[in-house]
């Protein structure tokens, strides 16, 4: 992000950015930057809080009134993060193995039932917000769980989406599943708590368990891209965990 600022500035466009990692801002020195001590994914701070969001914007745009730079400023309010991590992290000890899979049809049936039970609340959330972020994969909601379950048999299923191989599609389906759950719960229970959402989906739901089984399949896979997904923490939220996933180096990047 800081690097992009230099390109736009050299095109004669004045830039101002907000950023979460102060050391990077200090090193790359974009012309005008506002450091935010917030969790990642929340650049304007708080959803559905126009007053707070405008505070951030006004503080950032105030930097456009300086005559020289680079200038770095700190937004005065902090949104605390937990244990130095800027997003939810799975507990390092919560790891499943392929021996835990058992009957794939039974796993799939549990997940389908869980998703079906949430469906009315999901539809209510979409109606209230007049938008949904579910669907990045391009698959229908009913297709998500069967597609993931296909991998639990240890084989790479055929991609149902033209032009997109199965493994990149799998990543998007995993994110669609999580979005289906969190969009539903944040609206149904009127809560905004990323730690609670992560814990509920990844540690407590049947669907989260299916994805941890998928992670186990990935670690055991001969397919380099499947292994890369876990090495690079691209599927289960382990980037902020204290220690790499057992069986991986966490050095994929």
């Amino acid at each position: 992000m800081c690097g992009l600022a230099h390109y736009f500035e050299s095109e004669g466009l004045s830039t101002v950015l907000v950023g979460f990692v102060r050391e990077h801002i200090e090193a790359i020195k974009p012309p005008r930057a506002l450091f935010l001590d917030f969790p990642m994914g929340r650049g304007m701070g708080k959803p559905n809080d126009p007053v707070f969001q405008k505070k951030v914007i006004r503080e950032a745009f105030g930097l456009l009134d300086t005559d020289s730079g680079p200038v770095i400023s700190d937004f005065p309010e902090v949104i605390p993060v937990k244990d130095g991590r800027m997003g939810y992290a799975l507990p390092p000890e919560l790891v499943l193995s392929v021996e835990d899979i058992g009957d794939v049809d039974a796993v799939l049936a549990e997940v389908k039932a869980e998703m079906a039970a949430l469906r009315p609340d999901y539809e209510a959330a979409v109606a209230a917000r007049e938008r949904t972020t579910v669907g990045a994969s391009g698959l229908e909601i009913e297709e998500f769980a069967p597609f993931v379950a296909g991998f639990l048999n240890g084989e790479i299923p055929q991609s149902p989406r033209k032009g997109m191989p199965a493994i990149p599609l799998l990543k998007l389906v995993v994110e669609d599943l999580e979005a289906y759950f969190t969009e539903t719960r944040t609206h149904r229970d009127s809560i905004d708590d990323l730690e609670l959402m992560g814990k509920w989906f990844w540690e407590e739901s049947k669907t989260g368990r299916m994805l941890l089984l998928l992670e186990a399949v990935s670690i055991a896979s001969d397919n380099k891209v499947m292994l890369q997904i876990v090495e690079m923490s691209l599927m289960a939220p382990r980037f902020w965990s204290e220690g790499p996933l057992p069986g991986t180096s966490a050095a994929g990047w």
Binding site: L4, F8, S14, F35, G84, M86, G87, P168
Partner: protein
């Protein structure tokens, strides 16, 4: 403040080992007065209109979307950041409605017709060509100010 040195092990190792771009002779574009600013947002959240081509994992290109587009999806490769906030309110990462309100109130000049999204996981050095293409489109739209927001 969350310092890199205080982050958990995996993140600390990754973030502290990133190659950061060095700019020897940085440009400075003098800002215009607030009420003349026409603003375009650049996000590195890898969002795009539903139906647009998803971002590849280390994409160098960008997607443009209109200021009235709300049916956006995210195909960012990384999962370390919270997605629940933007699910609740697009303005948490791309504050188009806030900017429109500020334009209506005269705090800024206007909101650009187009806004842009990049894949934040990619090395910014690989994005230079795309960034300059986006800049050319912005200038055609009369944009003079860019608001960059990471994910």
């Amino acid at each position: 403040m969350t310092k890199i040195s205080e982050m958990p092990a995996v993140a600390r190792g990754f973030i502290s080992n990133l190659d950061l771009p060095v700019v020897d002779d940085p440009s400075w574009a003098q800002p215009v007065p607030a009420n003349k600013r026409r603003i375009s947002i650049v996000s590195t959240a890898a969002v795009h209109r539903r139906g647009d081509k998803p971002f590849s994992w280390l994409a160098k290109d960008f997607r443009a979307f209109d200021k009235t587009d709300r049916d956006l999806v995210m195909t960012h490769v990384a999962v370390e950041f919270d997605r629940s906030a933007w699910q609740q309110d697009l303005n948490t990462i791309i504050p188009l409605e806030r900017l429109e309100e500020m334009a209506d109130d005269g705090e800024i000049g206007s909101v650009a017709e187009e806004h842009y999204s990049f894949m934040g996981a990619a090395d910014p050095i690989t994005m230079e060509k795309s960034a300059r293409q986006a800049a050319a489109r912005m200038k055609q739209d009369g944009v003079n100010t860019v608001f960059l927001i990471p994910i």
